[in-house]
Amino acid sequence: MTAAPDTTEAPRVLVVASGGGHWVQLCRMRPAWDGCHVTYVTTEPGYRQEVMADAAARGQPAPSFRVIVDGNRWQKWRLLKSLLGLTLIVLRLRPQVVISTGAAPGYFALRLGRLVGARTAWVDSIANAEELSLSGRKAGPHADLWLTQWENLAQPGGPEYRGAVL
């Protein structure tokens, strides 16, 4: 990759993933936002160190790192807290681009991003090889770029297949 570029004109990019597999996949796409003002949002505080170490190792400006509560569709209260956390982050950051691999917090991030005029991208998890994830199906209509990692799931009108994290 190139040396640390002049970032005064660089877009503000918000990248969001729940802890575990979604996060590991998001991290494999990191060079896509090299040189941007990037803010990582996840549900596991322990990921901060690897994010900072990776940026330093690859000569990238130190990214921002924010933690929100995790929640799924059966944990309404946690889901609400997750939504609130993301709302505050999106309002403060005013991202120009929002990217997520899932799950529920990623869906919120895309919806909130749209409200503040951001362009949004969803990369459905590679774990969903035979049907899209629930969050992926719900996020699709709110994504300017809607991707699946399985060619067999690509369809006219989306999602598209443009490669995978593996």
Binding site: G20, W23, G163
Partner: protein, 166 residues
């Protein structure tokens, strides 16, 4: 060292119990370390275990392991492949209430042909695979994965990030 990990969310007693029984019969328990979640009801008697590990500890244990035993979660699979470590996966079953749906079965079916990735279709197949990997001492790992996603996926996202705003 053998590292057993079942993800951060749901317990997976069927896997933990099978590995415990294998440790008892093979005498290899002293060489195995397991992460079995907070809500695990089956507590192993024949190997050392913890409910959860930090992300940093998770990386270290994967890196140091001869091989990894896991559910078919993408976090475990990608991490194992990244370090070139063989991984045995037992997919969770929705029917047994081990997950919300059967996407892990699909993951196992579609990714199971990769070198270094061994699938146990049921717990009955697990002891044989554990014996095989123990005998080989982790020698059957595939080549370590490149650290990042397909260049085509990264390029698609990069182009999207830098496209003209709407």
């Amino acid at each position: 060292m053998i590292f057993l990990t079942i993800g951060t969310q749901e317990p997976f007693d069927r896997l933990v119990r099978t590995v415990d029984a294998w440790c008892a019969s093979s005498g290899r328990g002293g060489d195995l370390f397991g992460q079995i979640t907070e809500r695990a009801t089956y507590k192993p008697n024949h190997f050392a275990w913890v409910p959860s590990v930090t992300p940093e500890d998770f990386q270290t244990r994967c890196k140091q392991a001869d091989f990894i035993v896991s559910h078919a979660g993408m976090g475990s699979i990608i991490t194992a492949l990244t370090y070139g470590k063989p991984i045995v996966i037992l997919p969770r079953s929705a029917k047994l209430k081990e997950h919300r749906n059967d996407h892990q079965q699909a993951t196992a079916k579609r990714l199971g042909k990769r070198p270094g990735l061994l699938v146990a279709q049921s717990e009955a197949e697990l002891p044989g695979l554990l014996d095989k990997l123990t005998a080989e001492k982790g020698a059957t790992g595939g080549e370590a994965l490149t650290p990042f996603a397909d260049p085509s996926l990264i390029a698609a996202l990069r182009t999207f990030i830098h496209a003209k705003p709407r």
